[in-house]
Symmetry: C2
Subunit: 358 residues, 2 copies
């Protein structure tokens, strides 16, 4: 039955909508036989959501922890009500329903990461054990439920969990780039975070040395790293909320041609016009940033009378997890960068018994 496969039975309010649209999910046990139970270790918070919570919590780990606990206890899922975005999680298989498709492929104790958003994953947090601001990760004790339709990746092999989780969280981005980027194209990636870096790594492979790759970010050190990895031909340090300035510099770098494909991986809002203006007439703008405003993108393109394809980055592409993990496994320098950025962190319990999640 499709509605159970999609988890409608876990929706508390409003009735009849899908879990992603719901205000509140019910993460309580027992487990249904179409479900899979995960003993959760860590949440990887979406970049836009993290940035918002970090500001709201005044960059105080205790406050941030309380905000996250409050969202999960109110909504039954880590669905940021301000940004509308989530993230994903990592944990250990605890129980597999007899009718869940993973029944023949996973066993209790297997380590997995979910490939569906936290915005639709029933989640109960017993305790928040640590907050890792730099990696936007939160270690918890609790459980989550994966529906029959929910995608996952088994964690194993040569990559650390922290690195795999970081890559899997954004694996739709390089997979879409793999579909769209062709040799000879001018490709620009806005944002040098993890989705931006993996998108650049894939663009580099897809172009096969023919074409031009431009990276845009506000951070000079981030761009320096991309240059060292040889992931871009041109690195532009700019504030992407200033569309005209970005466009002028991209125009200079491309001899006025602008880009065939622009991939927006920014974590900050108001970068739609940089994307639209840097794309050539007839080109493709692919939005992966969860901070994207639909009206800003569509009315912005209309406002400057630019005929271009505006794509929303679908987070699901068949084979996306394998593609992202393969990028890391087959590129030593990229893997080392991710290992440095997403280290295996010893758990640090929060100072007081304040998880606030109960």
């Amino acid at each position: 039955m499709l509605s159970e496969e999609y988890g409608l039975h876990r929706v508390v309010h409003p009735e009849g909508v899908l879990p992603q649209q719901a205000e509140r999910l019910d993460p309580s046990l027992p487990l249904r036989d179409t479900e899979l139970l995960i003993e959760v270790d860590s949440l990887n918070i979406d970049a836009a959501s993290w940035a918002q919570i970090w500001r709201q919590g005044s960059a105080d780990v205790q406050k941030v922890s309380k905000i996250i606990a409050a969202i999960v206890s109110t909504r039954g899922k880590m669905h940021n009500p301000t940004t509308g975005s989530g993230g994903m999680l990592m944990g250990r298989v605890s129980q597999i329903g007899a009718r869940h498709p993973a029944n023949s492929r996973l066993r209790p104790g297997d380590r997995i990461a979910t490939l569906v958003s936290l915005t639709l994953t029933p989640l109960f947090i017993e305790e928040i054990r640590a907050v890792h601001p730099f990696t936007e990760r939160v270690d918890v004790r609790g459980h989550a439920i994966l529906f029959a339709s929910g995608q996952y990746a088994k964690l194993a092999g040569d990559l650390s969990d922290a690195v795999a989780l970081a890559a899997l969280d954004v694996c739709g981005a390089p997979a879409q780039v793999a579909r769209l980027a062709k040799p000879g194209m001018r490709v620009m990636v806005l944002g040098a975070g993890k989705s931006g870096t993996l998108s650049l790594a894939q663009a580099k492979r897809s172009l096969g040395g023919k074409g031009q790759i431009i990276a845009v970010d506000v951070s000079a050190p981030a761009l320096q790293t991309l240059r060292e990895l040889d992931f871009c031909d041109v690195a532009i340090q700019a504030d992407a909320t200033r569309g005209m300035e970005v466009m002028e510099r991209v125009s200079d770098a491309t001899g006025g041609a602008l880009c065939d494909l622009v991939v927006n991986c920014a974590s900050a809002p108001n970068t739609e016009m940089s994307t639209v203006l840097s794309t050539r007439k007839g080109g493709v703008a692919l939005f992966f940033s969860m901070a994207t405003s639909f009206t800003a993108a569509t009315l912005g393109a209309e406002g400057v009378a630019k005929d271009l394809t505006l794509l929303m980055g679908n987070g699901y592409v068949p084979g996306h997890a394998e593609l992202a993990l393969n990028l890391l496994s087959t590129d030593d320098r990229l893997r080392k960068l991710f290992e440095a950025r997403y280290p295996v962190v010893a758990l640090t319990a929060l100072p007081t018994s304040n998880s606030g999640a109960r």
Copy 2:
């Protein structure tokens, strides 16, 4: 100079952004020589914006009038701060700057409609003369400024201004459908308003009798009209915020195949999942509704692990105005429907001298 062509000189706050992103524009005179001055007669408010204002104003024409006047006087443009959307306007050319591209094509006194959003058009309202709830139109006395990059259509010929304005407001939708719909496809249009109706009219032409056209709306009379126009093979009366229900009915109507192309023209929010779920794997979902949530669409598709192309409807397509007007000029029944829906209304001054726009 590009920044002037795009109107950056009219941005009051925040500095350096494009007019669409600005909180406030300066619509004051004198006119620059790259600009065109329009004596405004009517605003066509975007459907999502209208629905929000109508609710906020408790369906009271006086209150609605004050809300609109307050937005325009605060922002220097009719940019609804809640929905982020605008609409377009109609008026008479009053003055043409020497360096504006329309200089050789228009003359003072010509009647034109703007094809760029009100969210980026500097606007000053002296008086609100009438509010037409049914047609989502507001008659005003005031002026607006069109930048050198701003698209417009000259009003002339066999269509009334009211009909032409209604069609031009949404002309990007049928123009995108013309690009995407091919004979043999299953095409679904969600929403039987003006953009939905024109999208169906175009789908009918593009399919050339081969394929299947499905219309979905909550209103039975609206669907009845579409059936009489022979614009759809199947009409489904449903609440599009209930994604699973819509999908099940579309699945029934298509023998389980679902649709190759789904065009979302809904004016209400939370219809993303109806769209995603009704699109077949590998198909295209085209979002024209200004109530579209980027996160709901992308995370929703990911959440149900559906590989489909998520397109944002770019309001600008070369030739879009001509295409929409041509649909009306060459189809008597469609034109009569629009004439009935968007009649030439005698101006009714609002009861008191309450325009509130000063």
